[in-house]
Structures are given as structure tokens and as C-alpha cells.
């Protein structure tokens, strides 16, 4: 971290809260609302304390209607505000899809740039928390497929803070997906002051020579555990934390694969038409002659995420990831 910066130990919940707090304090146009985000501070307590600090006009509970939460944010953004709205779970965001697809992603284009859709739609996503149905899915590829949106997923408290600040400052609409499984699982020192992590830039977390693994969100930590196993087996893995789903950082992925000759995508969502498919296509286009093994998708099944008794089959464990790393390297 930058020398001299005051640091504080934060988990991802603290870091997101901190980013919101900084932007609320700095920019009166920032408004935070959604279901239970005000008094309670959200079901995951991400917005805890913000209403007390910034007032009920700026941080508040909305009626329970996802389409309206996003649809009203469209109007607010058109009128010059920068709303940051919360979908309580990504699995409950579907009623808002008409607004997201028909207006959030389009009003800038439809009005030929007259109206910015400067808004952030935050949503916790992903499995592994022993939840009810609709609480475990990973639909980031779906949002990445909608032209006009930016889609961001942090994997650490530091990135969560810096990316959310960038998202709020972006004049383009950002879907900010939060890996709820690691909301509190990772703690690290994060600068207390304001900083940005740029949208659209992946990060090489560990360099290696045998295979490139692209992951994001909660999967980064699982891959890191798999890398320990790979190291013991004598396999050198380069790990890229994608951080932004769209615009996807093709350069970083391609440069890495040109070095390693192998690419694995680790993503929780369904296999077909997903992130692994997209990254395989990018590599086929950009680094075809460098490939020594077929691009591999280590992803969820094309099934519904099973309820907790069956979820262990679906989840990508370090062991499963290591198994696929070894198969790709030995191809």
C-alpha cells in the first residue's frame, strides 16, 4: 500500500460501507436506497450507520419492489443524482431486469448522450452460504451480455472499496456484484482515505509459467488454495483476478496465456454461455497459436444451484480446481 497512508483492518462489508460513506460525504448527489438499507443497514449490514450519518433523505428504506427501485433510480440519474441502489440478493433482482435492460443500459444511447445513467446497482451474489433457493446464483455473465452496462466483482476488501468508489464516480451504469460468501471471511489492511481501483483492469495476483487461471469474486480464494496444492505437485500457476466482467480486460488475460500456453476459467455460474466460454473465445481469437491445451471451463453445472444438502456437488472446491489444473497441464 501507498507509503504513509493510514490503514485500517476491514472485511468486505466494512470496505463497501466505507466507500459509500466517503462518497455520501463528498457528493451530495449520491443517494443510497433499497430494501431495509436504512434503519437496519441492510440484511448483510453493508449500509449500517449510514442513515444516521447522512440522513433519511439520502439513505433510506424503499418499498419492496425491485423494478421500482431501479426504475426510480433511472429517473433520479436523468435528473442529475447518482443513486446507489441495493438489490437484497441477486436472485431477487429479476423483476428489475426490464428496467436494467430497457432503460438503465440504454437511456444514454437513446438520448444520444443527453442523459447519463450514472448509477450503481449493488447486489450480493454467489453460493456457499447454506441458503434457501434463489440466494446462491451467479448470473454475472448475463449482465455482461447486456450492452451498455459495466459489471464489476471485487474479491478483496481493498478492491471492493476502490472499485465501488470508481463505480459511483462512473457516468456509466455499473452492476456491482458482491461475493457474499466472503463478505466477512477476508480481512485486510485497507487505506482509510479515498482511493480508486480502475474499472476494466484485471490484476495478476501470482505469476506462474504452466497455466493461467482466471477467477473473480469468491473463487479467487479457492484458486489460491488450489495453487498451494499445485505447487506441491510442481505446477506453476499464474492467477488473474478479473475484477471487471465488462469491459473485460483482454490484454492481461492474453498476455498471460501467451506466456503459459494454457487457460482455465474458474467461475461459479453455469457453464454454457458463461464467463468460461467468453474467455475461451477471447483466447482462441487472440492467442490461438500459443495454446498447448484446450481452454478449460471450471464452472458450475448447467443446473439450478442445489439446496444446501446437495450444494457441495455444485461448489468449486480447491480440490476440484486443482484436479482440473492438473488435467489441463497434463493434456
Amino acid at each position: 500500500m501507498e507509503g504513509g497512508a493510514k490503514m485500517k483492518v476491514m472485511n468486505m462489508v466494512n470496505a463497501i460501507n466505507d466507500a459509500l460513506n466517503i462518497k455520501l460525504a463528498e457528493d451530495r448527489n449520491v443517494i443510497v436506497y433499497g430494501e431495509d438499507v436504512g434503519v437496519e443497514g441492510g440484511v448483510f449490514r453493508v449500509t449500517e450507520g449510514l442513515q444516521l450519518k447522512h440522513g433519511v433523505e439520502r439513505v433510506f428504506d424503499s418499498p419492496l419492489a425491485e423494478s421500482a427501485i431501479v426504475g426510480t433510480a433511472v429517473g433520479m440519474a436523468a435528473a442529475g443524482l447518482r443513486p446507489v441502489v441495493e438489490m437484497q440478493f441477486s436472485g431477487f433482482a429479476y423483476p428489475a431486469l426490464n428496467q436494467i435492460i430497457s432503460h438503465v443500459s440504454r437511456l444514454h444511447n437513446r438520448s444520444r448522450g443527453r442523459y447519463n445513467m450514472s448509477m450503481v446497482i449493488r447486489m450480493p451474489y454467489g453460493g456457499g452460504i447454506n441458503a434457501l433457493e434463489h440466494h446462491s446464483e451467479s448470473m454475472e455473465a448475463f449482465y455482461g451480455h447486456i450492452p451498455g452496462l459495466k459489471v464489476v466483482i471485487p474479491s478483496t476488501p481493498h478492491d471492493a472499496k476502490g472499485l465501488l468508489i470508481s463505480a459511483i464516480e462512473s457516468n456509466d451504469p455499473v452492476i456491482f456484484m458482491e461475493p457474499k460468501r466472503i463478505y466477512r471471511a477476508i480481512k485486510q489492511e485497507v487505506a482509510e482515505e479515498k482511493f480508486n481501483v480502475p474499472i476494466g483492469k484485471a490484476k495478476v495476483l501470482s505469476s506462474g509459467t504452466d497455466v493461467t487461471v482466471v477467477a473473480y469474486g469468491a473463487m479467487v480464494r479457492e484458486v489460491q488454495k488450489a495453487i498451494v496444492m499445485a505447487k506441491e505437485a510442481g505446477i506453476s500457476v499464474e492467477l488473474i483476478d478479473l475484477r471487471t466482467i465488462y469491459p473485460i480486460d483482454k490484454e492481461t488475460i492474453t498476455a498471460s496465456v501467451k506466456k503459459t500456453g494454457r487457460i482455465i476459467t474458474v467461475a461459479e455460474g453455469p457453464t454454457s454461455f458463461g464467463m468460461g466460454a467468453e474467455i475461451a473465445a477471447i483466447i482462441s481469437e487472440e492467442a490461438f497459436l500459443h495454446l498447448e491445451a484446450p481452454p478449460k471451463r471450471v464452472t458450475g453445472f448447467d443446473t439450478i444451484v442445489p439446496l444446501p444438502k446437495g450444494e457441495h456437488f455444485y461448489l468449486l472446491t480447491p480440490e476440484k480446481i486443482f484436479y482440473e489444473i492438473e488435467r489441463t497441464v497434463k493434456y
Partner: protein, 362 residues
């Protein structure tokens, strides 16, 4: 007004009859003769433009178009109340309101010729572009209303939807949010009796739409939408009520879509000649014209002359739209993001290479 015409009493608000005679002196608004004549001329212009636009479509010079024919008083009356600083959140059958806000026919024609540049409405202050997904725009109006309250501005949002749109969830969510937030939004439902081919009685089992306001804790009123005095009075009262910080109002304006849903639709399939003729007696222009003639403020001769002028003006703007510069490849890409991702630049660039290749082959 909202007490006297509480929708629970199922009393429709009307000021003049079908012959333009005042039947409700108490609520006859005070409008100067000049203003009234201007309102009539604006409606006449909108009607002339609308009918001509349908004929352009028949000539194959524009794509699909949703006619306004028969519904002109609702936009016309709203235009008399709506101020420059107020917001217009339209659906797509409010030509008079568009023009009053500062949109031009040329821009509208561009949209129906298939060019997004028409959607900018650069001289229309505080106006969103046409919203095609039914009722989805009403939520934008509620959000704008929140911003108005948040910044303590003195503005009103005029948001339009049709009767079919009131069955959409977004209609109900917008009313609910606006009422909870006391947002200064006037929701104007143009109940033209049909959602494409579906008659109003198949749309809801409710006794009208205005009555739905009660459950949301907001004011509502059912108005004769072909009576410009009634609509004006209702919109004016609603706007004063909203400006005073009392929250939103739902206005149900009863009207009849004399034309087709769009130029792709054939109303003879789902409604009778008798029905159409019965509604013809309520025509909003006819009623205002009879009123003006009775006050010696208008004549058919004046009208015929004016319509000829209007036709030429409509043609002129249409030709301007036809001569608008051709759509460029960059227009496809450059407004997708405020900051264009490299990927899009690359896609544009690759297509430029293809165009060069195509050119070289000739």
C-alpha cells in the same frame, strides 16, 4: 375538486357537453380568449401533422407510427399547464405535449424514420425520450419526483401512460413509490378504451382507473379526456396540489383512439362502426371548435386556411427529416457508454475495415 370528484363516487368530471356548451359553470376555468385560440390551433396542428404522418407511412416514407387521432385534448390541455422547468415523461401518444415542450416534428419524424438523433429533443427542457416498454417510464417519473423534493425545487412531472399500461406492475409500483415519497408527479392515463385490440373491460375488473388512486393514498380524478376545459382544470388543480407538497395525483382521461394502435394495426377486426360513430360525437377538436364558434372566436374559413398552412409546414419539416444526414457507423457505437470501452472501439474498427474491403471490391 378532488373531494367533489372523488372517484369513489364514480362521477366523471366534465365541463362542456358534446356540442361545446358549458354544463358545469362552477368548474369552467378562466382562460383568456387568446390562450384558448392558441390551444385550439395547437391541437389542430397536432391533428394535421398526425393525419399527414399516417399518410407518409402509407407512402412508405416512415416506419411504424402510433397515431394520436382523437386524443389531442389531453396533450393540448397539459401543454397549457406545463411550464418550461416542469418535466415531461411521455409514453408515445402525446404529440401535442411533445411539441409544447419544445420537441419538433422533424425530430419526431426522425424517430419514426429510424434515427435515434430524433430522440434528443435538444430544445425541450426536462423531457425524457419516448418510452416504448409499456408503463416502465412511470417509475422514472417517480424518481425525478424524488429529485425535485430532494433539491427542494418547484417543479412538476407530467407522466403519461395508456389504459393497457395500468395493468403493468410498474404502474402500481410507480404510484406507490410516488405516494410514499410525496413526489410531485401527475400521472395521466389516456384511457382510449383499447390496449391495441384488448378492450378496457378485459383490462381490469375495477370501476375505472382513477379509483385505484385511493388505495395508494393519493388523489385521483376521472375526467372527460375529450373536454379540454375539464382536462385543463384537472391538470391545473393537480399541478397546484403537487407543487404545494401534497404528493402525486392520478388523472384518468376518458378518450377514444380514433385511429389504429399503430399503422400496423387494423381496428376493424375488433370494434364496430357503430361504436366509432358514437365516439365521434365526443371528438375533442369538434367540441372546442363549437365552443369557440359560439363565442364568435373562430370560423370554418379561418380553419380551412390554417390547415393548408399547417400541411405545408408539416411537409417542410418532413422533408427536412428526409434530408437529414445519413446514419454513420460511429452513431451505432459512440453513445453506448460515456467512456467507450476498447472492445467497442475495436468492433467499430473491424467493421470499418470490412467497409474498406467492400469499397475496394467495387
Amino acid at each position: 375538486m378532488f373531494e367533489e370528484y372523488n372517484p369513489i363516487n364514480e362521477k366523471i368530471f366534465r365541463v362542456i357537453d358534446n356540442d361545446g356548451k358549458v354544463i358545469n359553470k362552477k368548474w369552467m376555468p378562466e382562460i383568456s380568449n387568446e390562450r384558448l385560440i392558441k390551444a385550439y390551433k395547437d391541437m389542430l396542428f397536432a391533428r394535421t401533422a398526425d393525419l399527414q404522418t399516417v399518410s407518409y407511412q402509407r407512402q412508405g416514407r416512415i416506419y411504424t407510427y402510433p397515431p394520436n387521432y382523437g386524443q389531442e385534448a389531453i396533450s393540448g390541455a397539459t401543454a397549457m399547464v406545463m411550464r418550461n422547468e416542469d418535466w415531461l415523461v411521455p409514453a408515445f401518444r402525446e404529440m401535442g405535449a411533445y411539441l409544447a415542450k419544445g420537441a419538433t416534428l422533424k425530430e419526431l419524424f426522425l424517430v419514426f424514420m429510424g434515427h435515434e438523433d430524433g430522440n434528443v429533443f435538444k430544445n425541450a427542457n426536462n423531457m425524457l425520450p419516448t418510452s416504448v416498454p409499456i408503463a416502465s417510464q412511470l417509475l422514472h417519473a417517480a424518481g425525478i419526483g424524488y429529485e425535485i423534493n430532494y433539491n427542494k425545487k418547484k417543479q412538476v412531472v407530467y407522466a403519461f401512460v395508456g389504459d393497457g399500461g395500468t395493468s403493468e406492475g410498474d404502474f402500481h409500483e410507480a404510484l406507490n413509490f410516488a405516494a410514499v415519497w410525496k413526489a410531485p408527479v401527475i400521472f395521466i392515463v389516456q384511457n382510449n378504451q383499447y390496449g391495441i385490440s384488448t378492450p378496457f373491460k378485459m383490462q381490469t375488473a375495477s370501476k375505472g382507473i382513477a379509483i385505484k388512486s385511493i388505495a395508494y393514498g393519493m388523489k385521483g380524478i376521472q375526467v372527460d379526456g375529450n373536454d379540454i376545459f375539464a382536462i385543463y382544470q384537472a391538470v391545473k388543480n393537480a399541478s397546484e396540489y403537487a407543487l404545494a407538497g401534497n404528493g402525486p395525483v392520478l388523472i384518468e382521461a376518458e378518450t377514444y383512439r380514433k385511429g389504429a394502435h399503430t399503422t400496423s394495426d387494423d381496428p376493424t377486426k375488433y370494434r364496430s362502426k357503430e361504436e366509432e360513430e358514437a365516439w365521434d360525437c365526443t371528438d375533442p377538436l369538434k367540441r372546442l371548435k363549437l365552443y369557440l364558434i359560439s363565442k364568435k372566436l373562430w370560423s370554418q374559413k379561418e380553419e380551412d386556411q390554417l390547415v393548408e398552412e399547417y400541411k405545408q409546414e408539416v411537409d417542410r419539416q418532413f422533408e427536412e427529416a428526409e434530408n437529414y444526414p445519413a446514419y454513420k457507423l460511429e452513431d451505432v457505437f459512440k453513445y453506448m457508454y460515456d467512456e467507450m470501452p476498447d472492445d467497442l472501439k475495436k468492433q467499430q474498427n473491424e467493421y470499418e475495415n470490412f467497409m474498406k474491403w467492400k469499397e475496394a471490391r467495387k
